[in-house]
Symmetry: C2
Subunit: 461 residues, 2 copies
């Protein structure tokens, strides 16, 4: 299998922005601006065929050929018809990798132009991402080729999730959600038409990337089926991969073809393949995030017995229902010793059962007593803690206590908190501390179910 070195693309020591512009409405301006804002510490150059001097303080050249430096990454944001010429110059100048953000290729029928681009990339063995893509982001190396301003699309903090996305639109919204929820990103790779670098190359790179704990991907089509299977066999033995595949239906398949010229193939065939090789299948955008949160924790359950702790009875009922419908999780039965201890420690109105309803006045101390007992119970494999911050007893001390327990147990533990501003504040607080937080009973339970399925696959494999 071909192995492309994508390290210079994600961890470049030097970057040239080709098509950089002084005009704030131009894509090449926003990209350069974002590089500057992100605090990229490598050597940065701008290229503009009409420019001299500098743009926003960055030294600017008429051609990449004029830069007297070895360039690891060229970000190309010029109109489609100029891309082959620019890419040729890059190849000649020894540029190591390229990202073509420009659109106007196969997705609107210009396959010849795209083929031309690919043959140049191949001639110079220069891994080239795109065209028609958002490019790459790596919060660790502060690489950010996205042409979307940060006030519209907030950037996630550093974390363990790498996100591979064929569509720019899907990519930008999911990135924005990751950032909004406060969990962290390893790499974002938006690969658009997949003309040269494709999903197989990217998975091959991420498989060995130590910073990547879990891969999530949105794909419209797979180009090299045989090679995909080869990599699929290997990668899920090392780390989980969550996949959202477009083109589940005739309507979606037709739409995907007109979007990235992808040949979607039969969804059923793809799904069977994904299941066989231990991929986690997302059925909606939100589940890419839901599943990534818990899978990136690298904590795997020993069994399916799930305990619910709650400060709201009805919400506990809904989670119990979701567990009952999951087909894989079971309600844990507390051990005798733990039951007796809890009966002694809890107020009389608390029923000692599963769900354990701590009642609306539960404070951090009552949560602590419950968690200390339940995390030490061998009859419990996984814990769902419902913390409703609308209640009189719940505040940031409860949130802090839950975060604290994450490090005191080897059982997977997630939180369910539903609500607006005050709740949202606590959600972000817990999520930023690495505790997976969900906003619906079904999302919480489905995520634990997928964690268990993946753990079972790893145990078998």
């Amino acid at each position: 299998m071909r192995k492309m070195n994508l390290i210079p693309m994600l961890k470049p020591d030097s970057v040239a922005i080709i098509g950089a512009s002084r005009d704030p409405d131009k894509v090449g301006h926003v990209i350069l601006q974002n590089y500057i804002n992100a605090g990229y510490s490598g050597r940065l150059y701008a290229v503009n065929k009409k420019a001299d001097g500098d743009i926003m303080g960055v030294k600017t050249f008429v051609s990449v050929a004029d830069i007297k430096d070895k360039i690891d990454l060229a970000v190309i944001a010029v109109p489609a018809q100029f891309v082959p010429k620019v890419l040729e110059e890059c190849g000649k100048a020894g540029v190591r990798t390229a990202v073509v953000v420009s659109g106007g290729f196969a997705e609107i029928g210009n396959t010849q132009l795209q083929d031309e681009m690919v043959s140049i990339a191949e001639k110079y063995a220069m891994p080239t991402l795109g065209p028609n893509c958002l490019g790459v982001m790596d919060p660790r190396s502060r690489i950010d080729t996205l042409f979307l301003p940060t006030y519209k699309l907030s950037r996630p903090r550093v974390g363990g999730v790498s996100f591979v996305c064929q569509s720019g639109a899907v990519g930008s919204t999911v990135l924005d959600l990751i950032s909004g929820e406060g969990f962290g990103l390893s790499k974002f790779i938006s690969y658009g038409n997949a003309a040269h670098v494709d999903e197989v190359d990217i998975l091959n790179y991420l498989m060995d990337d130590e910073e990547t704990k879990v891969v999530i991907m949105y794909i419209e089509g797979i180009k090299r089926g045989k090679e995909f299977i080869e990599i699929a066999k290997k990668i899920t033995k090392k780390k989980p991969v969550v996949v959202l595949k477009a083109g589940r239906t005739a309507a979606g398949t037709a739409a995907a073809h007109s979007h990235t010229a992808a040949l979607a193939g039969s969804y059923e065939a793809h799904e069977a393949l994904f299941r066989q090789y231990g991929f986690t299948i997302a059925e909606d955008l939100g589940d890419l995030l839901n599943y990534a949160k818990i899978l990136s924790s690298e904590t795997f359950p020993k069994g399916n017995r799930t305990m619910i702790i709650t400060n709201g009875g009805g919400t506990g009922v809904l989670v119990a229902d979701a567990i009952g419908s999951s087909g894989i999780l079971a309600m844990a039965q507390l051990g005798q010793k733990q039951s007796i201890y809890l009966r002694k420690s809890m107020p009389p109105l608390v029923n000692i059962r599963n769900p354990l309803d701590l009642a609306g006045d539960a404070d951090d101390k009552r949560y602590e007593t419950a968690l200390a007992t339940i995390t030490s119970d061998d009859n419990v494999d996984m814990i769902i803690v419902i913390a409703l911050f609308q209640t009189p007893g719940a505040d940031s001390r409860v949130a802090a206590k839950l975060v604290n327990f994450k490090d005191r147990t080897d059982k997977p533990m997630i939180v369910l908190s539903i609500g607006a501003e005050y709740t949202q504040m606590h959600r972000i607080m817990m999520e930023s501390a690495g505790l997976p937080v969900y906003d619906s009973p079904s999302a919480a339970v489905r995520s634990l179910a997928e964690l268990l399925k993946y753990a079972n696959y790893r145990n078998r494999a």
Copy 2:
């Protein structure tokens, strides 16, 4: 069928808070505080057996018997064992309705105390809500018996959705979400143990309430099956009812019984009944809100042909997929005249098809051209507009344009916008203006599907 007059409970001219307290940690303090904060303009009294003078400026009495005024609503927040005595005093004093927020009745096995409460309510023909509930909220009459502070649980604006909820926890979180998303509430009725006033009485009242456009409900059990069917037959012919029924599984049923002492019965039987009488069935908390938003618009489709307009290709593909899987919606085919016009008006990179991908640089003008053409196309019954605010062209002008079109068409139209802060700002802006906004492809499509199902039921009925 018995008909309880709940108007004095929701639109009282005079309210007595029994158990009002000067101690900020007491439920009776928070309730009185919330009444004052809400700006209730009726006559307000506090009752505290140890009090004299006033609490927070509200005239305070030792017993409700001492108040020389006709009381429409008594809110009772005293320990469970004192409730019968207090309720008896209310009955004698001619209080018209009561809300018992106190817990400690059937839900912890005290059925005798609860029976005592009911017999007093019946003796005085005094509709009594609860016990073990949050009570009622009506933003129009500024009634708010909730004992949860507004900084933890924000209150929704005035609107057309009435929310009937057995569980306080579920009630408070959904209220908070309604408020956070910017859509409006008619009435909130949390009825807890349903000892006296139950779901049948509440539906009977809401059926004739002109301010209520749609009813959403969370129930754990139905107490009077025959009467429920009687009201179910009638209400859905007048307005939609969305129901989330807990106890779908053995695990959930057991949990529900310990929560509100509800006998859940077979979920399948309930579901069959709901379907037969045109209820809209929610399978998760979020869908209560999702379905309420579009159903409260009172705009019904003439058919199932759905048009997607988008500024992000991948998101359009995901929505097309969801339409393909819906089992009821179909992709619309644009009329010839409209196609020709759009081809002439749109830039070359816009494919004139469904989804209509206006591309990432689409601004308000491009959306306007698309919407003006598509809303006038007889081949289109419903419209899903995807507006991704991360893109260069999308801003508040696009949001304003979409709001504007809501009033220019009689076709159901919803918006899908996914993202963090900048997007959230625009979501709330559109939702507050009455345009239903969704945050996932599947939620958007399922909501339109449920709208169509309800429209079909109404047409048949």
